[in-house]
Amino acid sequence: MDPSPAAASAVRFRGVSRAFGAVKAVDGVDLDVAAGEFFAMLGPSGSGKTTCLRLIAGFDQPTAGHIEIFGEAVEGAPAYRRPVNTVFQDYALFPHMSVLDNVCYGLMIRGVGKAERRKTGAEALKLVKLVGMEGRKPGELSGGQRQRVALARALVMRPKVLLLDEPLGALDLKLREAMQGELKSLQHALGVTFVFVTHDQGEALSMADRVAVFNHGRIEQVGTPKDIYERPRTRFVADFVGGSNVIEPALVRRWTGLDRPASLRPEKIVLLADGAAAPEGALGIEGRVDEVLFHGAVYRVELTASEAGRLVVSVPASTGEPPSEGAPVRAAFARDALHLMEAE
């Protein structure tokens, strides 16, 4: 065990499992969150990411394994003795208290004097841009404002790790994008470790320093957003993060001689005009257009390719009209666009 706390991970999981009866919500997870990083836990619902967050917070205890927070074992410690704070998905603001009392709640519990905690609380509200709302009740605030109160309430506690459970899930798109930027810069300014749970891969990729992709209670891959996006290790990661095409091992073997599945990003495929030759060294595939969807900057073209099955191609809208539905097409891509994944 590492004796120096500075070198310790902010959060460390070793073989952590949480079973609910026969169902393993978390199944043997190893995890290291570095101090000061913005760490996202990404996965579909029921993948175990929220359970992991609850295990860190102390709302739930693991059925097996070992959890440390900054080098200290926390098994058995209740939530109220852990140096972490949570921003809840539904914000969980106390409806009978004013905004300021909500923010000061933890300080009051800690026994901080009234004048001092009001000062700290007011500063926190300034940090989240809610000055002038001190006396309101949570019921009188908009969703975005409530979210900021929840954030301020957790941050005044100066947590060693801030846990965020899908905090942007209930906000509309524009507000969500604005909050993403704010959360990121807040985390940067405070230097607090953020552990962020989300099912939205765009959110995870744009905000996090590192992402852990969860599936069926296990971590499929941990890495930087770029890593995860460009070099998925498994079929699940390729599909869940950014909807990559998965090429079956049989076809990959023909092209590369290796019996492994490969991911092929939709934007790395070009559709060839009639009679145009494929670029030198490119791999080609023939198919028929099933569906064309307009996505603003790009068209998303779905093909049924004779050999590869369903294939999604992203065609920049600036290159002109996309092929029409039902038309036969030829698709080509560079050999190194094919990213080989783990054998299954």
Partner: protein, 312 residues
């Protein structure tokens, strides 16, 4: 002939329903008039007629009512003997309410936060079932249970705590020759009768406290006791107040239980009963009726000041 026109056979009914849909005010009036008549004329009217009686007095010699507005009856109400009755009743009602809250809270908390499915159904049956049996049977059952030779004494004896019971019965006010003729017995009987009326509103209000609020408090460093004081209790207050209104006013108004269980000194309901019955002093009986109303008004005003009624 269009398809929208009603056929002759149903035209009257359809025209009526068309009219009511087009004029919701009329519908509301038709729906509300009968109950408002009942509430306004029969119920409140009778109550005010009764209260008006309290401003008359009784002629000491002839025993007839003097229809002259006077406050003499209220002066009589505040005479030591009558004031005693009011204070005694008030204390009994407060003790019953406090004990009912203590007994009901854990039950309601368990039912609201932990019981699911069959256990929850069982909870409802267990709480409601005593309400299905006759009130008198329950009171007499308690008289027998609490009697000197009753099951409670026997149980206490079996547990080797007879000395404790004797000490309790020897105490002033709460004691007496046996439990069934003591205030302890009376309070226990009331507690048994009214606890369901505390449990149900309390459970309903606890049910509305989201589990994440408790987790949030926990997360912010509050130990379970602190969470209870700062989060659960304030949010359960509307249910606690509603339940208290039931237990408190039911105890204030009851005149059967104190006749059967408890000491011989009267409490409020009995005083009203005695004054308007045997004594024929309707003005004083009416004045006695004002007492619980005044007490309830004060009680509600206090509850309101705590902010507990805002959430209702």
């Amino acid at each position: 002939m269009t398809a929208f026109a009603p056929s002759p056979s149903e035209s009257a009914l359809r025209r009526l329903s068309d009219l009511l849909i087009a004029r919701p005010g009329l519908l509301l009036m038709l729906l509300l008039t009968p109950p408002l008549l009942w509430l306004g004329v029969v119920y409140l009217g009778a109550l005010f007629a009764l209260l008006a009686q309290s401003f008359f007095s009784i002629d000491e010699f002839s025993g007839t009512i003097v229809y002259q507005p006077t406050l003499a009856t209220y002066a009589e109400l505040l005479a030591p003997a009558n004031l005693d009755i009011i204070v005694r009743t008030l204390v009994v009602a407060l003790v019953v309410t406090a004990l009912a809250a203590l007994v009901a809270f854990p039950i309601a908390y368990y039912a609201a936060r932990y019981a699911r499915g069959k256990v929850k159904a069982l909870f409802y049956v267990a709480v409601m079932m005593p309400l299905w049996s006759s009130y008198l049977v329950k009171v007499y059952a308690w008289k027998l249970l609490l009697a000197k030779e009753g099951a409670v004494t026997w149980l206490v004896h079996a547990a080797g705590l007879t000395r404790l019971l004797d000490l309790w019965l020897a105490a002033p006010l709460i004691g007496g020759p046996s439990l069934s003729v003591s205030y302890t017995g009376m309070v226990l009987t009331f507690l048994y009768l009214w606890t369901p009326f505390m449990i149900l509103p309390l459970q309903a209000s606890l049910e509305r406290v989201p589990a994440t609020l408790i987790e949030a408090s926990d997360d912010l460093g509050a130990a379970p006791g602190q969470t209870f004081r700062h989060v659960i209790l304030p949010l359960a207050a509307p249910g606690l107040i509603a339940g208290s209104i039931f237990t408190f006013s039911l105890t204030l108004g009851d005149y059967i239980v104190p006749q059967i269980v408890g000491p011989s000194s009267l409490i409020l309901g009995q005083a009203v009963y005695a004054q308007q019955g045997n004594a024929g002093n309707v003005p004083l009986a009416a004045a006695f009726c004002v007492a619980p109303i005044a007490i309830m008004v004060v009680f509600l005003a206090l509850a309101r000041r705590t902010g507990a009624l805002d959430a209702l």
